[in-house]
Symmetry: C2
Subunit: 585 residues, 2 copies
């Protein structure tokens, strides 16, 4: 099993109290513990039986084009049929259009299990989730009836078509055009690239959300509108959307990353003209949390492999004397640095999961609450989203590399399976906005533009928690308090510097992201530790959580200090070197 | 050109003064500036024309077995013929056996150019170098006449056969056996895995250096002897060495990583019985420097690609106002974090090269000197070798990942070429002893066992340099001095702690390696900066070196602080968690 169900349940029930959380949302029919456990068990069965066995074969086989049709790896289509039959596609969809209406945080459980078993496969339904979110928020009732109902059964899947060859991080450079047609629709023309799940053989139809420009639209992001463009028209005729090729990639071979040509394809405007970027951010914020989750899932799957291997593989004796004297050598688990690498992974996986589940609860609150309570949840969620995406994918990549390192030479060999996690994980730091884009989003939009609203709210949370554990965990409490103080303390002068010169913002942003991430995970580990400290002190499982929390505070959190020094070094150290010296040699 | 010749020359002539260095060695015919430049030019021509064009195709095609024979990618064999004709194989070999007798540091130039152009190809002659070193040091005259002469022409290539399925880092667990035969030779039987360049179609014969046990040999590493086992016997009949398969790997596809079966293969003892490990370390120390060089070479090739891309790719405007207002967007080089990523790469590549060239000079001194001077050079070289291997490969991997990040989504696509560097670089942290093994070697053997001999000598070097630049570069001088003080200051208490409990050694070792690496590169950058500060202050090239040195001191060196805190956290934070909590879930 590539995901630890014990750890999921411990977090959901014991640390984060999902049952009480759902009750507090004022839902008509709040999910109870039994329902949540049933969903975990069923989803685990589905993903373990149907998806995990296709992870390696999907990587080896990849997607291909046969007679102009995109064919996914063997078994992907069948697994998707079972997914549809299981009713998974509509788990948290609007009941008015056939969804089951469960909160977002429940979807995350399913997404984690799917991604942990098979990231490339999980991206097909994953892209649908984003499409569903946009249509639920901004689609007309007719669009909902037409598209949303089919997306919620899973019969159709979705995509998000943003990127063009000249427009990557800079979506405002997109050239795809939409011309009004006599029937009230639009003719969409242009070429989109890097479209995940862009074409495939798993569903009857694909619903593309396409960013394009209306005639006379303003330049840049302000002139971008969103269109829904189906692969197959509603009358069953093919629309003018063709797959121009599948990219050969470093990883996620099982997902078809397509070049899509739209040639006067029939499209339909979503919402208002020129509001496409705003709608896309709705989609993207959810997608960014999912990518952070991918970082954690791959780290988790690789960690579980590495932990097994470390317990079995025998090499050398412990420096402090043989631990398995009857064996030719000790298991490598006895070596301190193997333990360190496992603890790094464990602290990223479990702390990262806690952070993502927490953002899931915030998303539930945003959906259920109104007024000030909603605004506060939204501030926190907006603030934490770039940290989830940027930091957890970077640490997820570190983590899978540690897993590979534990395997030594065997880790570099494909059949072991662990190197696939490294290749798959590498994309998570890039797509849905690179780490650099997340960092600018965090420090620029989320901190400076809001005068630190989300940061302040989160620091309040941290200080509350530090207060609550002051007696039970005085060491962690003190470190947490001091980290929170330092974090707010360094943000203000940074903001002042950035107002003088915006390059200071760009120069500090990535280190600020990492700094923020380390403190945020410390908060998560303190929450886990609080729960563990409340339990039976002879319980080895709980003792393991406390030990991991202490490891995190002793050996991971101090990394924040180096990022502080780096960000305080200022922009000049980056900007003063000539372009020539930086690029020619 | 995947390697910067300007930077090579600047280091060789201006910073490290190779000409004077060669004169100081007391060689009969010391290489002068003209000869060195001619070698650089010729080697650059060969590698750019013959090797670089095969880098990507070799990755795509890989090695294969056809009718029981290992076939290298198209063009590899032809390039090797040109390599032989160019006389490159014997560059630094013993003239008594056909070598050209040039110092080791000259070989490094060739190796850098070959690896920067095509790492997988460069490993075929690379493995020969190791074999040559062992035979020169420990082979009988007959063995030298038979094998060394052919290795130095390049007609034959070499391998090192250490690893077995159950014996990776722990070579002492090797089971391969050698039984004496009537003719005075040995029958070698066993299976070796992960043998780089283990079989191929590029040379007439392959000279395997095999670690095996004589009958009644003591257990562990003390019972290991070394044998030379040719693929083809001297009478032209095939020896009983068969390739059992080629591993499918994450990277370096162009190099055949073989399973080799020895079935009573004819072998010949090298040197004395049971001394195999000692001989292998001769080979391995040189090989470890070469692997550190691989880390730097891949980082360099990827950096040069990324720098070009950053200057060309246009996305978004500079936060401090448009820099190319007539273009649709600014080149991404204007963004501070793109510059940061390039500067990280540049500082690793150029600082790392300086460190490797410096160790090359030390190797020259070890070969040429005797007595105290030799001992001092040897102490320094022994001490720096695990830093070169462990630290430069880890930072090389960071570096290629930054290069890929600059390409964004395009970097994840195979045809761009940059992701190959990430896949190829990943092995450098594993083979020839993992980062963990290097760390134990550094802190255990090189520092504690010698009472810090090499460390003390190197810290003297650092302090001398800091003194010399006190006037010209007071900021760097002060930081360098303080780093040296801290380094020796933290080593002693660590040693004391480790003597109480050797797990403390294992718990601190990797962080000690990183810490040492950051200070060592600071020394290298201070040397580069000293030379740059002596030159024309309007020279943009030299100004770029000074700016990079300042970047390194401001934003890279401070990372050492986090490693200091981590290593001082002690072993308990790693050892106290139960094995169960660490591995089961």
């Amino acid at each position: 099993m590539p995901v630890s169900l014990n750890d999921m349940r411990f977090l959901i029930h014991d640390v984060l109290g999902y049952e009480q959380h759902y009750q507090s949302l004022g839902l008509n029919d709040p999910p109870n513990r039994e329902l949540i456990d049933a969903i975990i068990d069923e989803a685990a069965r589905f993903t373990e039986t149907e998806l995990a066995p296709l992870n390696e074969s999907g990587d080896v086989q990849g997607c291909r084009i046969v007679d102009g049709r995109v064919i996914t790896p063997d078994g992907f289509k069948r697994a998707y049929e079972i997914y549809i039959k299981g009713g998974w596609a509509g788990l948290s969809g609007d009941p008015a259009y056939g969804g089951q209406g469960l909160p977002d945080s429940v979807s995350i459980i399913l997404e984690e299990l799917m991604c942990g078993a098979n990231m490339a496969w999980s991206m097909y339904p994953g892209l649908s989730r984003g499409t569903i979110n946009v249509l639920e928020s901004y689609g007309s009732d007719e669009q909902k009836q037409t598209y949303l109902t089919r997306l919620l059964t899973g019969e159709w899947t979705g995509t998000m078509c943003l990127t063009e060859a000249q427009a990557g991080s800079d979506v405002g450079l997109a050239k795809t055009r939409a011309a009004p047609t006599a029937d009230g629709g639009y003719a969409v023309s242009g070429t989109k690239i890097f479209i995940s799940a862009g074409d495939h053989d798993m569903a009857e139809n694909i619903v593309h959300l396409v960013l394009a420009r209306l005639p006379d639209a303003p330049a840049g992001t302000k002139g971008i509108s969103m269109f829904v463009v189906p692969k197959i028209n509603l009358d069953g005729s093919p629309n003018n959307v063709t797959c121009g090729g599948i990219e050969k990639k470093m990883g996620i071979h099982g997902n078809a990353t397509c070049v899509l040509h739209f040639e006067e394809a029939k499209g339909y405007l979503i919402g208002e003209p020129n509001e496409g970027m705003r709608y896309m951010f709705t989609l993207m914020n959810g997608a960014r949390v999912v990518v952070g989750l991918q970082g954690v899932c791959l780290a988790q799957s690789a960690y579980l492999m590495a932990a097994d291997y470390a317990a079995d593989r025998e090499q050398m004796r412990s420096l402090s004397g043989p631990k398995a004297p009857d064996r030719p050598a000790d298991p490598i688990l006895v070596h301190p640095d193997v333990r360190r690498m496992l603890l790094v992974q464990k602290s990223i996986v479990e702390g990262g999961r806690a952070l993502i589940y927490y953002t899931g609860q915030l998303a539930d609150q945003v959906a259920a609450y109104s007024g000030e309570e909603q605004a506060r949840a939204e501030d926190l969620l907006d603030f934490l989203t770039p940290i989830v995406k940027g930091f957890l994918t970077e640490l997820g990549f570190e983590s899978v590399n540690h897993a590979m390192q534990i395997f030594g030479g065997h880790g570099f060999i494909r059949e072991t399976g662990v190197e696939q996690y490294v290749r798959d994980a590498r994309i998570t730091m890039i797509y849905e906005g690179t780490t650099q884009i997340q960092a600018l989003d965090l420090l620029g939009r989320k901190v400076l533009l809001t005068q630190g609203k989300g940061l302040t709210a989160f620091i309040d949370e941290i200080n509350d928690l530090a207060g609550e554990i002051a007696d039970s965990l005085p060491d962690l409490s003190a470190k947490l308090k001091s980290a929170a103080r330092e974090w707010s303390g360094l943000t203000l002068p940074l903001a002042a510097k950035a107002q003088q010169n915006l390059d200071e913002l760009g120069a500090a942003a990535v280190d600020y992201l990492f700094y923020s991430g380390y403190v945020t995970l410390a908060y998560c580990w303190a929450r886990i530790a609080r729960t563990a400290a409340e339990g039976d002190e002879n319980d080895r499982y709980l003792a393991g959580k406390l030990a991991t929390a202490r490891f995190y505070f002793a050996r991971m959190l101090p990394r924040a200090g180096a990022h502080k020094i780096a960000m305080e070094a200022g922009a000049d150290v980056l900007m003063s070197i000539s372009d020539e010296a930086l690029t020619s040699t």
